[in-house]
Symmetry: C2
Subunit: 208 residues, 2 copies
């Protein structure tokens, strides 16, 4: 029970919701500034003033939304989780079947990683700053993969025995391809990378 | 050229080699103590005195082998890289074919991750402490996977088109399975996890 409560707090704890459009823009500016500062300097070397100065907001405004540096860091990790969920979800919605969906999701993610090279450094820091939010990020992402796979198995699109292990394997595959070809390089065509990985997956997950 | 030089320095820079058996034991004690301290406290919160006290060595002895906290950290990441190379290499040597080799390598790694739960926290910190050694760790590990796969393709054991993308995909799969089932859990039978992942891989890599 303890564990479930912790998970849930990792999902919901954090910034206070703004009530106005202007408030939402301010919150967005703080999160974007925090992404740059934490990504460049690292969590431990970043002060709240670095974030407020980059965002162009007063210290008091920061504390309207966040209680601490840890608090804005957690909110930032959740913000990335949400972007991945929404972005991959949108990309997948046009898919013809589950294998095509996985290709589209990976294709989207590789482009996202190339555009947001700071994301890995921030997520990986979470392992120390807040292990619970680090774990929540990966567990929630992989849980979505697993759900998609199991539903596809029900439709006969992938092998009937798909489950948690396959979902973690695919999650890891996507994260490493994002690191190698998205974050570390601007050279390769990312859609071609997604196709190569997806062809391996298509055979690996084919109905038996 | 710059790049190649940096890589090579990441591989070789670091601790001075001890010349005696006693020296090797002292160096080992320092590295083991550093693994515990960096794993528990994190790099930024760890002082050299934490390491020397845990290792039971004098400060002067530490400086016989290392120039700085960064230096022992880099040596520790390389030490992990070496352990993975040697451990997985030994496990693989008894394999009947390349798919069996990948299963044995993963099986070994999952057990290693469960026994050394600090390894992920240390490697992930390297992304900030020394991005070059972080990158070297993954690039060298994946390069070995790629070499194995391409040799196996030459023998007709796996599909002829295997290459870098497949190797990164497999590396990511193994790392994520190690995190989920090795580091975060003591419950699941790891050899069974390795078999499930390997069956997906066997189909994904089957000759066409």
């Amino acid at each position: 029970m303890q564990k479930a409560a912790e998970r849930s707090s990792a999902a919901t704890l954090g910034h206070k919701e703004p009530r106005t459009e202007r408030g939402r823009r301010t919150l967005r500016a703080i999160l974007d500034a925090a992404a740059v500062e934490f990504g460049d300097r690292g969590f431990y070397e970043t002060g709240i003033t670095h974030i407020t100065q980059r965002a162009g907001v007063a210290m008091g405004t920061f504390y309207t939304y966040f209680d601490s540096k840890e608090d804005v860091f957690r909110a930032l990790v959740r913000d990335f989780s949400n972007k991945v969920r929404e972005g991959a979800g949108g990309a997948i919605s046009a898919a013809t079947d589950q294998i095509d969906a996985e290709r589209r999701g990976l294709d989207w993610f590789l482009h996202f990683a190339r555009e947001h090279k700071e994301i890995y450094r921030i997520i990986d820091q979470a392992e120390f700053v807040d292990p619970e939010v680090f774990r929540y990020h990966y567990e929630s992402t992989v849980a979505r993969i697993r759900k998609r796979l199991e539903e596809a198995a029900g439709r006969g699109e992938v092998r009937a025995d798909v489950g948690e292990v396959h979902a973690w394997a695919i999650g890891g595959m996507n994260v490493f391809l994002g690191l190698r070809y998205g974050v570390w390089s601007d050279d390769e065509g990312l859609s071609e990378i997604a196709k190569i990985a997806n062809d391996m997956l298509a055979n690996g997950l084919a109905p038996k």
